[in-house]
């Protein structure tokens, strides 16, 4: 099967699509945020008057919602501006707008902010030096606590021949889209309208309504083209400020983050600390205990999804007869946690895989054989008691082992080959709706998501309709509308676009075909086809032009329509294994096995990735070129998390590296050739058995690189990223005597 040329390619190479940063209106003003100058402290005074004294400037602060939204009460837990206390570095305390950006910036500088500094908490381990005890659940620093178990872990560890206990630490990483957040807001009487670069127009509408205390019906969100999202543009960020400024100014206001602000205010993955104990008896894992401290920044208590969810990835896709897992979401003085492509899973897989490799090495067993022996198989159950559906990871691992064996033959000194696995589940739990409209010449999919770059909307949804109806891709067009008229959808996240919204498209196409068949008086299966210029309905050898089957109103009104809906797929875990908190069932079972060859410079610790192969369980391939492109991009992003990307909070509580020179992304020169292998035949929850492919590719990467580095120079690293400094230090530590963690260097 071939992929169509992306319908947005021509416009994009001419710079002809409008992103959030490109928005403008004839009489618009420019907004700017006033950011707190200290990372944590008590607000003594915020004086907007010096800004307001400038001609043509509006300035708003903590009273903005009450003053500007008709007395409505916004969400008290999520005020747009800091009230009383600044809790994270650069938290917005006020906002201004003016006819030019230069004037807005000048006005922002003039706002007088008096804050009494307080000590910042940035290190979860400093907060709980002896690990949280039972009393920690009541600590104001704990936003959530989760615990699950099955069997008696202590007894199983006690009878184990070998118990491997380790601690891992991973760094915060940021999405860093090339396009910073940007929007243009306008308030027209009771209508609060915002155009914005978002992965979820309906999600932003819900957020804005909640934060400002508005009815959802009075908020309209229109998505622009998105210059990279990666999870960072799912929830609202700038829209409430822009709307309040537009209300105050009485005209449209454009608000965009500078690139520095994008680093400072983005919500992303924060550091993890994980302790693991694994007991082995007769070469098999008998019990595991996993304990997690997840830094969630200033996330609100009770709104944590990440802790229980990440615990599953820390156990990995491996048989674990007896287990106990416990996690704490720990509040620190950082921005709230936010989703970053496969949230926390790359870090968790690094921990799970590196630990498994270490356990295998500790008992003198080949790590890849050890993995294969413990890997889940279809029909078994997860530790939390969920039955495992069709699962291509065992086949992917076998393919990866074959490739690794080939690459290991004749490997130069200083080079190493490693395998990493990443488990994932397509998030089809969130629903959506779509409509299709067919006239004599094309099928149009009407829906409410903008293309964020992956192709999942423009190509993925079209591929579903093409495959269901039989039409060629060029006769299927994906249309977009804002929240005012579009059917609802949850958002472009969780690898769900094709898997969930695609099911709604699929259902709409099926209904349309059924209706056309009824009108044509055929009971057999029907398909659409193109005959010359016209679309025809085919049933066996018979065919009729679609226009002949349309009613008069449909001919005049744009064609025959049908609507489809997708509701979350219900799946359950065994609730008796959950002691506290929220854990989630998987909607399907997917993942990938990756292989990397690296060259390690023992003196500098620099790791060069020489070549890379990725074997992915994808269920069914609907858009081959798009799927490959997702894997290539996801691997590259994972290489950043593995090797160079690290958000550093300094001892003063501030983000120390809010820029591209110090937060280092993969570059054209650093990303190796990437071979992509898509494995079909293990169907998932999406249409035609498709599984999501947006997030899985990033998951195994740090684990894969760590395994390859270990293979190359014998060091076992337990912290991400694998920076030259960490690698060189570990190599140096090996030199005198080796030590228990050392493998024999190549």
């Amino acid at each position: 099967m071939t992929s169509p040329t992306r319908p947005d390619a021509a416009a994009k190479v001419h710079g002809a699509v409008e992103f959030g940063t490109d928005l403008s209106a004839p009489d618009m003003w420019w907004g700017a945020l006033v950011l707190a100058p200290v990372p944590h402290g008590t607000i003594r005074a915020i004086d907007l008057e010096p800004a307001r004294a400038l001609p043509s400037v509006v300035a708003i602060g903590a009273d903005a919602v009450a003053r500007l939204v008709g007395g409505a009460k916004g969400d008290a837990e999520r005020p747009p501006f800091a009230t009383g206390e600044v809790v994270y570095p650069s938290q917005p305390v006020a906002a201004v707008a003016a006819p030019t950006l230069a004037l807005a910036r000048e006005a922002a500088r003039r706002v007088k902010v008096e804050i009494e500094p307080r000590a910042s908490v940035t290190d979860v381990e400093a907060l709980f030096p002896d690990w949280p005890g039972p009393e920690a659940a009541r600590s104001p620093h704990v936003a959530a606590h989760v615990r699950a178990r099955y069997g008696d872990v202590d007894a199983e560890l006690a009878r184990s021949e070998t118990v491997v206990a380790e601690t891992y630490r991973t760094a915060g990483v940021q999405q860093v889209p090339l396009e910073p957040h940007a929007c243009l807001a306008e308030v027209d009487g009771p209508r609060w309208k915002v155009r914005t670069s978002t992965q979820s127009p309906f999600g932003v509408r819900e957020d804005v309504a909640s934060i400002l205390g508005l009815e959802e019906g009075s908020v309209e969100v229109e998505g622009t083209w998105v210059g990279g999202g990666f999870g960072g543009k799912g929830a609202s960020l700038l829209e409430p400020y822009a709307l309040l400024l537009a209300r105050e100014a009485g005209r449209p206001v454009r608000l965009a983050l500078s690139y520095r602000e994008e680093f400072l205010l983005g919500r992303s993955t924060l550091p993890l600390v994980v302790r693991l104990e694994t007991g082995v008896l007769a070469g098999a894992i008998v019990a595991r205990r996993v304990r997690l401290l997840l830094d969630v920044g200033t996330s609100l208590p009770g709104r944590d999804f990440a802790t229980g969810y990440s615990i599953g990835f820390l156990l990995g896709p491996y048989r674990t007869p007896v287990f106990e897992v416990e996690g704490y979401a720990v509040r620190t003085n950082k921005p709230p946690f936010g989703p970053h492509r496969a949230p926390i899973a790359p870090q968790a897989a690094f921990v799970a895989e590196s630990h498994l490799v270490h356990v295998a090495r500790s008992i003198g067993v080949d790590p890849d054989a050890f993995r294969a022996a413990h890997l889940w198989k279809e029909g078994e159950t997860t530790p939390l008691g969920q039955r495992i559906g069709p699962f291509g990871l065992p086949a992917a691992l076998q393919a990866a082992r074959d490739r690794a064996a080939a690459w290991r033959a004749g490997l130069p000194a200083g080079h190493g080959v490693g395998i990493g696995l990443g488990f994932w589940s397509t998030n089809t739990g969130a629903g959506g709706e779509a409509r299709v409209r067919l006239d004599g010449r094309e099928l149009v999919i009407e829906q409410g998501e903008r293309e964020i770059g992956s192709g999942s909307v423009l190509v993925g949804l079209a591929a579903v309709a093409a495959r269901r109806t039989g039409l060629p891709h060029e006769r299927v067009r994906v249309d977009y509308a804002g929240t005012r008229t579009a059917p609802f959808d949850s958002g472009v996240y969780g690898s769900r676009t094709v898997g969930a919204l695609g099911r709604a498209v699929d259902e709409a196409c099926e209904k349309l075909l059924a209706e056309l068949a009824r009108r044509a008086g055929v009971s057999a299966a029907v398909r659409l086809a193109v005959d010359g210029e016209r679309i025809v309905l085919r049933a066996g050898a018979a065919s009729r032009p679609v226009v002949e089957l349309l009613t008069d109103e449909e001919r005049r009104g744009g064609g025959a329509t049908a609507a489809g809906r997708h509701f979350g797929v219900a799946n359950e875990i065994d609730a008796s294994r959950v002691v506290d908190g929220s854990f989630f069932a998987y909607q399907d079972f997917t993942g990938a096995a990756h292989v990397a060859e690296v060259a390690v410079d023992r003196a500098t610790g620099a790791v060069r990735v020489v070549r890379y192969a990725a074997f992915h369980d994808i269920g069914t391939v609907l858009d081959p070129a798009g799927a490959r492109a997702q894997v290539e991009g996801g691997v590259a992003m994972g290489l950043g998390a593995a090797l160079t990307e690290e958000a550093v909070w300094g001892p003063d509580g501030r983000l120390a590296n809010p820029g591209l020179l110090d937060y280092r992304l993969p570059t054209l020169g650093s990303v190796p050739p990437i071979e992509v292998v898509l494995l079909e035949g293990h169907p998932g929850a999406g249409p035609f058995g498709a599984k999501g492919i947006g997030e899985p590719p990033i998951v195994p990467v740090p684990a894969t690189i760590a395994a390859a580095v270990r293979d190359a120079v014998g060091v076992h690293l337990t912290e991400l990223p694998l920076s030259p400094e960490r690698v060189a230090r570990a190599v140096k530590a090996l030199e005198p005597s080796g030590g228990p963690d050392a493998d024999r260097p190549r």
Binding site: S3, T5, R6, D8, A9, A10, A11, K12, V13, H14, G15, A16, V17, E18, F19, T21, D22, S24, V176, P177, L178, E179, P180, W225, V226, G227, G228, G229, F230, S258, Y259, I452, G453, S454, G455, A625, A629, E632, G633, G634, V635, A636, M637, G659, L660, L661, L665, P666, T667, L668, G669, V671, P673, I674
Partner: protein, 158 residues
């Protein structure tokens, strides 16, 4: 500088800089004075390459260029670069090789590669071109398809 005409040429049309402040960056002149927003604003500090344009045929970062420094120069942006054969070949290569996803870095890559091909012409090897594009960042593609597009563009330009 008095006595010189305060203007430059953008995509073949004269553009007056009389009203532009002395510290106005070419990026802002293009995007907000002339409405040519195909040139993308990324980091604004010369680290991402998204704002690359051609100045007298050579690639320049418009975020680090003051417009007044370009008096008398000729600027080409992504909107019009397809009117000349090298730019057109580069755009074709990026579109047909699928060397884009979100498209935000794409104008910068197109302009940077066009500038390099102008500068080096037929003497440029693919490896040299890839080396010199190292300052352009892409967060979506992993650069795999971009490398293909560079090879393809090199073939298309005689």
């Amino acid at each position: 500088m008095s006595g010189r005409s305060r203007s430059l040429t953008v995509n073949g049309r004269p553009c007056s800089l009389e009203e532009a402040p002395g510290d106005e960056r070419l990026l802002d002149t293009l995007r907000w004075r002339l409405g040519l927003r195909g040139t993308k604003e990324g980091c604004r500090s010369g680290e991402c390459g998204a704002c690359t344009v051609l100045v007298d045929g050579e690639a320049r970062l418009s975020c680090l260029t003051l417009s007044r420094e370009l008096e008398g120069c000729s600027v080409t942006t992504v909107e019009e670069v397809g009117r000349e054969p090298v730019g057109r070949a580069v755009q074709t290569a990026f579109a047909e090789e699928g060397a884009l996803q979100c498209g935000y870095c794409t104008p910068g890559f197109v302009m940077a590669l066009t500038g390099l091909l102008h500068e080096r012409g037929s003497s440029a090897s693919v490896e040299e071109l890839l080396d010199d594009l190292g300052g352009n960042l892409c967060r979506c593609t992993g650069y795999v398809a971009i490398r293909r597009a560079v090879r393809r563009a090199r073939e298309l330009v005689p």
